[in-house]
Amino acid sequence: MIVGWNIFPWFAAATAVSAVVASLLALRNRRMEALVAASLAVAVLVTFVALMWVSLERPPMRTMGETRLWYSLFLLVAGVATYARWRFRWVLSFSTLLATVFMVLNVLRPELHDKSLMPALQSAWFVPHVSIYIFSYALLGVAALTAVYVLVKRDVKPLPAVENLLGGGVALFTVGMLTGALWAKQAWGEYWSWDAKEAWAAATWFIYLGAIHLRLMRPRAVRAFCAMVIVGFLALQMCWYGVNYLPSAAKSVHSYNRNN
């Protein structure tokens, strides 16, 4: 194999350097330069994925290492898209950090490059499902922190930021849920099976929809709105990792890190 993991450290380094430069430019509010540098980071990683694809003669989507490659790529793309649209200065730093973590893991743990996934995880839906969720968690987390600031400081100036973060976060959360449902249909024939993680995801979604509708229908209810954004994020914690500690998680279709 001419193109493979042996040359990945070079591509990873080039991607990380471009992404870090983009993050620094974004923090200094130099928007166009930041977008160019971030797009360059994406282009470098896309090139590596394309080379792997051609070299392997199949989509590089079957091993743990290959999955991490896509995580990095999706996180960088989501970061550029969110920054281009909503101009949050911090967002490129966040996507760069997470993408770099996954790339560094691929460099330091080469034994996982060939560790194939279990059959249920071998799906084109896997990477978008997980990485879109990761990104929505970030937006919703910052929305909750900003809502805490509004409540504690009694300062309504950041409210538009809470709205934008919530809108983007809930939109991506919805896409995460739908890609999961379509995947479940393909894997088991059912869109939704109400296991613990799915139940908390649905409950979280309804709480966030409640926050959005409250904001639109009662614009003066600022405190109630902020409280719901915070409650939604607490429910999200249950959905994200809290369910692993519930007894019902033992038979969850989402418990892949267990020995079952």
């Binding site: 649209r85 560790k115 194939s116 279990m118 059959p119 249920a120 071998q122 799906s123 709205e163 934008n164 919530l166 809108g167 983007g168 809930v170 939109a171 991506l172 919805t174 896409v175 739908l178 449902a181 379509l182 393909q186 894997a187 088991w188 024939g189 059912e190 869109y191 109400w194 296991d195 613990a196 799915e198 139940a199 908390w200 649905a202 409950a203 309804f206 709480i207 929809l209 409640g210 959005i212 509708h213 409250l214 904001r215 639109l216 229908m217 009662r218 519930l246 019902s248």
Partner: protein, 271 residues
């Protein structure tokens, strides 16, 4: 100021909730199978006509006004959130219980009224509103009205040709095609964990591979899934879902709506 009639809808609602739990306690689950096609189409059409006539008379009906209110929106979302947790936390799925079906119909009724009222404003059709709410409406309606027509069949398949499968109630169902197992391939990783299961199945003589995440579709709305295997053969699940196109349209609209919300935020379109 609330007029004297405004407490009526809440009393009706409370009585309905009590009645649903009472019926569940007395008779068990909702008889979904009674509403297989064409009953579901008839009942669905009748339900829509009643909602439309009710919507036209909303000035005179306290119940319709309640079903159009912000309180009904919050109640719908709260019912949905609580139902999600109850369904998720109990070990036996109860999605066909009377309270679950009743809550579902309440949410869908509210959604229908809201769409009738809000699909356009003075400046025209509210595209994002229609795409998002219409998408949820189609997905939810196809799940409810499609449920009686959906079939989940199982069959244990060996090398002998077979066209009989069992439905969820244990009754035999005849397939439109004949299946037999030609080969079964299992691969493991070095640590013993599973890597690949693949059943090669003859469908009316034609060999197809069925794997996890890769079902075989013999016809529209019908898929054959590989569930598990043992020494005698494999277990297949056949899912028949005639309403699939409606569900798929709803999901596609929701994806489009999510994209629009990501690009535009959730602020009202007229602002």
């Amino acid at each position: 100021m609330k007029s004297n009639g405004e407490y009526v809808p809440r009393i009706v609602l409370a009585v309905a909730v009590a009645a649903l739990f009472g019926v569940q306690w007395a008779f068990g689950d909702f008889p979904m199978w009674l509403f297989a096609a064409p009953m579901n189409l008839l009942v669905g059409a009748l339900w829509l006509v009643v909602l439309w006539e009710g919507y036209r008379r909303r000035e005179r009906s306290a119940i319709v006004r309640y079903m159009l209110s912000a309180e009904a929106t919050y109640t719908s979302l709260a019912v949905a959130a609580v139902a999600a947790l109850v369904l998720g936390l109990q070990s036996v799925p109860a999605s066909a219980s009377w309270p679950a079906v009743g809550g579902y119909i309440f949410v869908l009724t509210h959604l229908t009224f809201v769409i009738l009222r809000g699909w356009r404003n003075k400046s025209g059709v509210r595209l994002r509103f229609v795409v998002l709410h219409g998408g949820i409406w189609l997905a939810m309606a196809s799940m409810l009205f499609g449920a009686p027509d959906k079939q989940i069949l199982r069959m244990e398949l060996g090398s002998e040709p077979c066209r009989m499968a069992l439905d969820e109630r244990g009754d035999s169902r005849l397939l439109d095609y004949e299946l037999s197992l030609a080969a079964f391939d299992v691969q493991h990783y070095e640590d013993g964990s599973p890597q690949r299961f693949c059943a090669t199945v003859r469908v009316d003589g034609e060999e197809v591979d069925i794997e996890v995440n890769s079902p075989y579709s013999p016809s529209y709305g019908e898929d054959i899934y590989l569930v598990s295997y043992d020494a005698k053969g494999c277990i297949l699940q056949i899912v028949r879902e005639p309403w699939r196109a409606v569900t798929a349209t709803g999901v596609a609209m929701l994806l489009l709506g999510a994209f629009m919300m990501f690009m535009q935020g959730f602020r009202r379109e007229e602002r």
